[in-house]
């Protein structure tokens, strides 16, 4: 039958199982928006296109599904770039549809025209410009396939206006055939010979550590990862992206490693003789000085992306494959092994790790006068039973959330790790809330970060999304101020925000609920009230101004050389 490009797009979205899209209309996408009006797909109208992409991102991270956005051409498209780069760095499956001027005007400096395909080439997994309505259906299917397969990532599809309103013959039912892209074939099945080497290394190791990352979450491998660690009694650490991949309350948990990791995690990495990295990329925030990283260890690296292996650190046993599949096979191989003596074999190591935990635990001193930001996160963890979905902004707020909230399940910690995008948390919380309307979703924010996408409070109110925003308000761009204090002799250059809005009033101006705590005794009541309010809430916690995140590994140092106070 005859269908327009816009109708084909909506049909394909339905076939891909898309129920919600995040977007913002404009001139060149009017035809698509007309079809959205007639369809039953849910469209969440945001207030800035960056919010649309972050929301789709938060939706994808929470649910494991592909997040979908629709924006218009020109400034609409360029506003998505930060969000796309955020998703690209953290390997999140998104498909972003941007409108484009009609094909005959492309390259002519037309109104609201940008070469968004050119601009996003380095920060998308792949992108397309659809030049003919006949190519639209296949392109959409390919886009979703690429976004969710192998190492996931954002895919952009640029749709010119005449392609959207062009009419072609289209059979919605003949699209069932499998996607074949000859130049794209990710490896899911790991090499069994390599896995056998891993088993042998586990057998012989005296001081092993398991290190999980974003790949564990994306692959759905948390259960297999946890099973492997517990049966072999190997202590576990996880990068920021891997938090929740192993229960944060388990006795084997070391805490997060790296620049702001725990003492015991960093010391364990410095002393271990076997490091099993699964779904990690050995980013510089974790490794510190790469040539002395894990100096005493042989490294096993299991990852679906060959480019990550041997990029930053030398690897003794590389395994290219899907995390879940690889760990499952590894667990099956270990079924034939006897591990009754493993506890004795690891006892000295576990004792050492326990000693590190006791000598330098994460700590802060909460007096009666000023609220400590860590105290807010501690209380939040307590009052939510550790079961909330936590999104964060970037900086000190992000680090304290990672350190003091202990995640027992995957897909509950949503944070911009790779790009470190301030303003990510609030729209991401909105996306996560859409994915799980009945869960408690809290954005841990700083007063700097929250102002970057504060306009999305209107989105939360419009769509009745009861997200909670906990602002750790210290009047500064905290993390930068910390570096200026420690390395620039307290020359606080442009980090003091002398003018700040009254966040509680601002919440009310949007139609949400605004609360404030200025004393430690007010923290718990404010949190309780927010949690029990079925509406979006901003909590303004006025905290100690010059509190620092510790431990800290200064730039260029080995991760065992931490500043502890």
């Amino acid at each position: 039958m005859k269908m327009t490009g816009a109708q084909i797009l909506l049909t394909m979205l339905k076939q891909e199982g898309v129920k919600t899209i995040f977007g913002f209309p404009g001139g060149v996408v009017l035809d698509i928006y007309d079809e959205i009006f007639k369809s039953d797909i849910r469209h969440v109208l945001v207030r800035h296109e960056q919010g649309a992409v972050h929301a789709a991102d938060g939706y994808a991270r929470a649910s494991g599904k592909v997040g979908v956005c629709l924006v218009t051409s020109g400034p609409g498209a360029t506003n998505t770039v930060t969000g796309i780069a955020t998703a690209y760095m953290d390997s999140i499956p998104l498909v972003v549809f941007t409108g484009q001027v009609p094909t005959q005007l492309i390259g002519n400096d037309a109104f609201q025209e940008v070469d968004i395909v050119g601009i996003t080439r380095p920060c998308t997994k792949h992108n397309y410009l659809v030049k003919d309505t006949r190519d639209l259906a296949r392109t959409v299917r390919e886009a979703f396939h690429i976004a969710r397969s192998g190492r996931p990532g954002p895919v952009l599809v640029d749709i010119p206006k005449n392609v959207a309103n062009g009419t072609v013959e289209f059979d919605p039912d003949q699209n069932g055939s499998k996607i074949q892209i000859r130049s794209y074939n990710p490896t899911y099945e790991p090499n069994v010979r390599q896995l056998k080497k891993v088993v042998k290394m586990i057998r012989n190791a005296r001081r092993p550590v398991m290190f999980g990352g974003g790949g564990i979450i994306l692959s759905g491998a948390a259960q297999e990862f946890t099973k492997l660690a517990r049966r072999t009694k190997i202590p576990v650490t996880a990068s920021l992206m891997g938090l929740g991949g192993f229960p944060g309350t388990d006795p084997l948990w070391l805490g997060m490693p790296g620049m702001h990791g725990t003492y015991r995690a960093n010391m364990s990495l410095g002393d271990c003789d076997l490091l099993i990295g699964v779904g990690v990329r050995f980013d510089d925030r974790v490794t510190g000085k790469t040539d002395t990283f894990c100096a005493k260890a042989k490294i096993v690296h299991i990852d679906i992306d060959p480019t990550s292996i041997r990029k930053n650190v030398g690897v003794a046993v590389p395994v290219v494959g899907d995390c879940k599949l690889s760990l499952k096979l590894l667990n099956e191989m270990l079924d034939n092994e006897d591990f009754s003596d493993i506890v004795t074999q690891h006892r000295p190591w576990l004792d050492q790790v326990g000693e590190w935990k006791n000598t330098q635990p994460l700590a802060y001193e909460q007096g009666d006068d000023k609220i400590k930001p860590q105290f807010v996160v501690d209380k939040l963890f307590e009052l939510t039973d550790g079961k909330a979905i936590i999104t964060t902004e970037v900086g000190q707020n992000q680090m304290w959330a990672a350190q003091y909230y202990h995640f027992d399940q995957p897909n509950h910690f949503i944070s911009s790790g790779g790009l470190g995008t301030m303003g990510f948390g609030l729209p991401a919380a909105i996306g996560a809330q859409i994915a799980f309307p009945d869960k408690l979703v809290v954005d841990v924010a700083g007063d700097g970060s929250i102002q970057m996408n504060i306009q999305e409070m209107a989105t939360a109110v419009q769509h009745c999304l009861p997200v909670k925003v906990a602002i750790l308000n210290n009047g500064f761009l905290g993390m930068v101020r910390q570096w200026q204090q420690l390395f620039y002799d307290r020359r606080y250059s442009c980090t003091c925000m002398e003018c700040a809005p009254d966040f509680a009033k601002l919440a009310e101006a949007f139609g949400a609920v605004g609360l404030r705590a200025t004393k430690p005794s007010e923290v718990e009541p404010v949190l309780r009230e927010a949690i029990s309010t079925p509406r979006p809430v901003i909590m303004d916690f006025v905290v100690e101004q010059e509190e620092n995140v510790y431990p800290m590994v200064p730039a260029g140092k080995n991760i065992t050389e931490m500043l502890l106070t």
Binding site: H126, L129, I146, S183
Partner: protein, 163 residues
């Protein structure tokens, strides 16, 4: 110690708009260098061949190959510097040819078995095809005479048939 070597990478890619930009962008974005680049369709109209020469040490060349393979439009990557390959480059050289130097230029052209393809009052344009060594040698000899302009293709290469 710098253990960088010159590598000739031959890529088969989808013949689609933007693919060359993706490959070039990968090199520039990650700080890899491109010494020369040559691209044209193959016998399969949907596939093009890109020949890139780059200088890199072993860990970097490993990353370059892996990153190229990761690109959706890249079908295959081979490093021809480690395989037996036929390597050729073509250059058009405009050289000064005054009455005094004209004969010398023609003698050199004859020795190198290349061709004069354009003649002017004061210059000749020479066309030369050969491996990089031959081109470099010719340029060295012509330089004292006076090279006015040069257009080079960069290396193209094909692996030899394994015997």
């Amino acid at each position: 110690m710098d253990d960088s070597k010159r590598h000739i990478l031959t890529l088969l890619v989808d013949n689609e708009p933007g693919v060359l930009s993706r490959v070039a962008g990968l090199f520039s974005g990650r700080g890899f260098n491109i010494e020369s680049l040559c691209v044209a369709p193959t016998m399969d109209a949907a596939v093009s061949r890109i020949t890139v020469t780059t200088k890199a040490n072993p860990p970097v060349i490993e990353q370059i190959e892996k990153q190229l393979n990761k690109l959706i439009n890249v079908i295959k990557v081979r490093d021809l510097s480690i395989e037996h390959a036929v390597k050729r480059e073509m250059a058009l050289i405009r050289v000064k040819a005054s009455t005094q130097t004209r004969a010398e230029v023609l003698r050199i052209v004859d020795i190198f078995r290349c061709k004069v393809v354009d003649v002017g009052a004061e210059q000749y344009t020479i066309e030369v095809t050969g491996d990089q060594g031959k081109i470099e040698a010719l340029l060295r000899l012509l330089k004292p005479i006076g090279i006015k302009e040069i257009a080079r293709t960069g290396t193209v290469a094909l692996y030899r048939d394994p015997k």
